[in-house]
């Protein structure tokens, strides 16, 4: 239930169905009540007619005159049945309609008794039976209690009941569907600004647009405006932060350059104060380099930032490195899966890939190969697979372990040796990716990097 409109529909449909259910049940109940009463009336009136029509027969039993019989009682299987039991002469009269039926009219009754019952006829047809025990005062065999019984088939009533039930179901079901449909349409309309907001946020996430549009309803316009302000502010903040760091680096490194160049000549004499100062300057610049770069790495996709086109970055870096390493007879092969994208900050990615490629160019004899592919069958933070290989001397087992270790800081290192890779490692960690180093078929080192991508 992660959708508002589904939740709302559910909230409305539960009471709706409950209401219709109760209404249906009450209607059904009253119909049955009503039909029972009318059944009673039919039975009563038939009973009265039967009693009135009963005549003493020559053998001392009672039976209605054939002419006074209702046509339904004379028609077999009509659904209306009657029986008169005269115990003294041990005779039972049954209406012609009972021919072929076997109706359980129930036991003989004492005078004045009256019973109602239901009995099952054959073929599972139910009948309602009324019986009365009666003594006629003019009966020659006085004291004889006659039992008059009338039975009515319930079939037509039940048929009527089911017809009514199905009608109720149709009407209520249709009504419920109509209501829910209307409601769904209304919800669609009411929630459409929310859906638009969702779409636009998604577009911002993917970097297709950089702010949300305007024209939201009053309740949402505040959210949209504030979100826009947040987006713009965040972007400005990050770029100002980076600028500040860049300026800081610039203002720290320029005097360091001056200091270092002022020491020239003295540095070469081992043990001299100049040499000691020189190595301290190197250490300082190493630390500045490392820490400022770490601080400048954003370590995550900035909201509203476009994903990075890996192929474009790779070919830019290739052109740059071929120029920088023009003194080397170098070939950099690129095999980048089309439209593969890194999800994160472009600066971070350029820095990371630049450092690893630079390292490969530095150590290779003549060949460097960059392979980038997308692996959709893994965690999203490891979908982008970047492999950098060279044909250089490779990396020793021990150094590989060191590079792979978490938390090994290379602040103490001489600039240019290790800071690049430490930086790479930091960035990969920040993105939750992974780095492994082994031997390449080309002969040198192979760096396999996993990063968020698609």
């Amino acid at each position: 239930m992660h959708s508002l409109s589904r939740r709302l529909l559910l909230c409305v449909s539960i009471p709706l169905f409950l209401l219709f259910g109760v209404m249906g049940f009450v209607l059904d109940l009253s119909f049955r009540e009503l039909s029972n009463r009318s059944l009673q009336q039919v039975l009563d009136s038939q009973m009265v007619q039967l009693i009135a029509a009963a005549e003493l027969q020559p053998n001392g039993s009672y039976a209605p005159a054939a002419r006074s019989l209702e046509s339904a009682l004379s028609t077999p299987g009509s659904g209306l049945y009657a029986q008169i039991r005269s115990p003294r002469v041990n005779t039972v009269w049954q209406s012609p309609s009972t021919a072929g039926e076997s109706i359980a009219f129930g036991p003989a009754l004492p005078p004045g008794a009256r019973t109602f019952s239901r009995a099952t006829e054959r073929d599972d047809d139910e009948v309602a039976v009324e019986s009365r025990g009666i003594q006629f005062s003019d009966d020659p065999a006085s004291g004889q209690t006659l039992t008059f019984s009338v039975a009515v088939s319930l079939g037509p009533y039940q048929k009527e009941l089911w017809r009514l039930r199905s009608q109720l179901l149709e009407i209520f079901g249709g009504l419920a569907l109509l209501l829910l449909g209307t409601l769904a349409l209304l919800l669609r309309w009411v929630l459409s600004p929310l859906r638009r907001l969702e779409r636009e946020i998604h577009a911002v996430e993917e970097g297709r647009t950089d702010t949300l549009g305007s024209g939201y309803p009053r309740e949402l316009s505040g959210v949209a405006t504030n979100l826009n302000a947040l987006l713009v502010g965040e972007r400005k903040r990050v770029s100002r932060y980076r600028d500040t760091l860049g300026n800081l680096a610039h203002s720290l490194k320029t005097p360091l350059s001056v200091m270092r160049s002022a020491l020239t000549g003295e540095v070469k004499t081992a043990g001299s104060p100049g040499a000691a100062l020189g190595s301290e300057i190197d250490r300082m610049s190493g630390i500045i380099e490392h820490q400022l770069k770490r601080a400048a790495a954003s370590g995550g996709a900035l909201f509203g930032q476009a994903p990075v086109d890996v192929a474009a970055v790779a070919s830019e870096l290739r052109a740059t490195l071929l120029k920088v390493y023009a003194r080397k007879d170098l070939s950099i092969e690129l095999a980048v899966e089309l439209e593969s994208q890194f999800i994160g900050d472009r600066g971070d990615f350029v820095e990371l890939l630049g450092n690893v490629l630079d390292n490969a160019c530095k150590w290779c004899k003549s060949r460097v190969r960059l392979t980038v592919s997308i692996d959709n069958y893994t965690f999203s933070r490891e979908r982008l697979k970047v492999v950098i290989e060279d044909d250089g001397p490779g990396i020793s087992e021990e150094d590989r372990r060191r590079v792979g270790q978490r938390g090994v800081r290379t602040d103490e290192n001489v600039p240019g040796h290790g800071i690049g890779l430490a930086m790479v490692q930091d960035t990969i960690e920040m993105y939750g990716g992974s780095l492994s180093i082994d031997e390449s078929p080309l002969g040198g080192a192979r760096f396999s990097i996993r990063l968020p991508g698609r």
Partner: protein, 227 residues
């Protein structure tokens, strides 16, 4: 070799000027982007060193404009922001190499010499033409394995000629690349220097390494042996 240094930090600029002069370069300096662009477009340069963080006109823009002005000499960028995005942008704008700050001067020098060699079509720091070998790192010259002592100016002329071996180089060009802009130019000095070079490199007058093309200039005539 004539080099332009565009750097706003006075201490660094002065140091570069002093050390590069010491290393045998003729050095022009500029303290901001606009001044740098003017010098880069107007002076006959062999190479330029440009800081990316310049006042008035950014280093990247200077590089773009001087490349747009059809200047083809190599450019080395200095950058305090040692990140790949800047390097990529710098090299895309038309620079040829970069050195991050704080740098060792030796590194800048090595990169400069490499750029100059590459611009002249040489790959190794040793330029070899016939029996003459010039080592750009040690700034030494040998003929048939024998060390030949040259003065700074003699070395600079020979280096210039050998870097562009086979090309005709005018006397004016040689003068401009040997002296600062305010130096009083006297083309006789070049003739004297060329004469001394010929005597030192080829005392028996057998090799004839330097040709004089009347009215056009000089050409280093021995063919290149190393790539």
């Amino acid at each position: 070799m004539r080099v332009l240094v565009v750097e706003d930090e006075a201490a660094l600029r002065d140091m570069l000027k002093a050390r590069l002069t010491e290393a045998g370069f003729t050095v022009d300096v500029a303290a901001d982007g606009e001044e740098g662009l003017f010098a880069a477009l107007e002076y006959p340069l062999d190479v330029a060193i440009i800081d990316l963080g310049l006042p008035k006109l950014a280093g990247l823009e200077v590089i773009r404009r001087l490349r747009a002005g059809r200047k083809t000499y190599p450019i080395l960028i200095l950058t305090a922001r040692d990140n790949w995005q800047d390097k990529v942008e710098g090299l895309q704008a038309g620079a040829d190499d970069y050195v991050p700050k704080p740098f060792h001067f030796e590194e800048v020098l090595a990169r400069l010499q490499a750029l100059l060699r590459r611009a002249g079509g040489w790959a190794s720091p040793e330029l070899v033409c016939g029996p003459i070998t010039l080592d750009t790192r040690a700034q030494t010259v040998k003929v048939s394995g024998e060390r030949v002592e040259l003065t700074t100016f003699e070395y600079r002329i020979l280096e210039h000629l050998m870097l562009r071996a086979g090309e005709v180089i005018s006397k004016t060009e040689l003068t401009e690349r040997l002296y600062d802009e305010d130096f009083e130019r006297d083309s006789n000095v070049i003739e004297v220097l060329i004469g001394r070079l010929r005597r030192k490199l080829d005392p028996q007058d057998e090799l004839k390494p330097i040709e004089t093309l009347r009215g056009r200039g000089y050409r280093f005539a021995l063919s290149r042996q190393s790539a």
